[in-house]
Subunit: 209 residues, 2 copies
Amino acid sequence: MSTLDNLNWRYATKHYDTSKKLSPEQVELIKEALRLTPSSFGLQAWKFVHVTNPELRQQLREAAWNQPQLTEASDLFILATNASIDEAFVDRYIKSIADTRGIPADALKGFRDMMVGSVSGRTPEQLETWLSRQVYIALGVAVAVAAENHIDSSPMEGFDTAKFDELLGLSALGLKSRAIFAVGFRSPEDSDQNNKKVRFPKEEMFIEL
Amino acid sequence: MSTLDNLNWRYATKHYDTSKKLSPEQVELIKEALRLTPSSFGLQAWKFVHVTNPELRQQLREAAWNQPQLTEASDLFILATNASIDEAFVDRYIKSIADTRGIPADALKGFRDMMVGSVSGRTPEQLETWLSRQVYIALGVAVAVAAENHIDSSPMEGFDTAKFDELLGLSALGLKSRAIFAVGFRSPEDSDQNNKKVRFPKEEMFIEL
C-alpha cells in the first residue's frame, strides 16, 4: 500500500481488539518516532509517558470521559511538555549537542544565547503556549508512522489534564499532560472504521498564491 | 529503507538543490498528507497556503530572517489556522459530515451541540491556543510522510507572522500563519546533513509507568 492508501486507511480508532498487542519492535518504532520528532530549535521540551499498568490505565480512562481506547488499546502514551523552561534547560540541551557532535559547548555560545533570548523574551503564558504546541508535532509524526506501518492509533485530547498530571506524577516534574496517543489494532466491531472520512475539499483547504 | 531509517535520514534541511523539483505526484502527496491530518473533533480549522510565486517567496524570506529554504526549496507551504471559530463554522463542518456520509444533519445534533459547547466554553485566548496547536499535527504528519517518501523538508517557526499574514492576505480571511513547511531535495553542499542528530536519550525522554 502507498502512503496515500495508508493515510486513508487510518482513522481515529475507537475500539481496539484487546487480544492483539504490538510486538516489541512495533512499540520501539512508535517510541523512536516520538523521540526523533523535530521541535523548535530542537529543544525537545517534552516527555512521553508509556503507561502499561492496567490499574493506572483504568484510572486514566475515568479521567478521560471513560473513552475505551485508554484501556483497550495495546499501548498507551501520554504526551507531556515542560510547563516552562529556563537557562538551565537550554544549557542541558547545549551540552547534549556538544556531547553528541564532539564539539566544545563554547562553540555553541551564539546558538545558546539566541535560544535564551527567545525563551526569556516570552511571557510565561507565551512560553507555555509555544512549548505546548511542539508536542503536537510528535502526535502528527506518530499518527503517520503508525499508519505507514499498519498500526491503528487514536490521537486524543479531551481529558482532565490536572487529574492526569496527578495520576502520572507529572506536576512534581514540572510537566503537563497535553495529548493521548493510543496504539493497537482495530476491533472488527468498531463501526467507526466504516464511516467515510470527512475532510473539507482541496479547493477549500488550499490557497494557491 | 525502513521507517526508522527514514526518520533518521531526515533532518531540518537548510539548503536545497534548486535544480530539483518535486514531481506533481509528490506535491499532491504532501498536500493530501496535510489535508488528511486528524484534528480535534475533526474540525480542520486551518488552511494551507501553497506559495509558488517567486517574488512572493522572496518577500516571505525577508520576513523570515532571510532563511534560504523560503526561496530554495521546491515547494513552500504556510500552515495557517483560524484565529477563532464560531457556531457557523461548526455548522459548516456538520454539513460536511452529513454530505459525506449521506445522513441528515439533524442526526448529528448531539455532536454539534457538544462542539459548540466546547468552543463557547473557552475564552478567546484559550480558543486561539487550542486551534493553533492543531496545525502542528499537520506539520508532524507532513514531516513523517515526506521522510517516508525520501523528500527533504524543513518544518519552521521563527518568522514575522504579522508580516506573513499581510503578504498572504490571511487577516482578511480570519486566518493566522503558524508554521512554514518547505519541501524539496537537499543540496549536496548543505553541511547540516552531516551533523549527528541530537536527541535526549530514551531513558530521559520516556517515563514508564
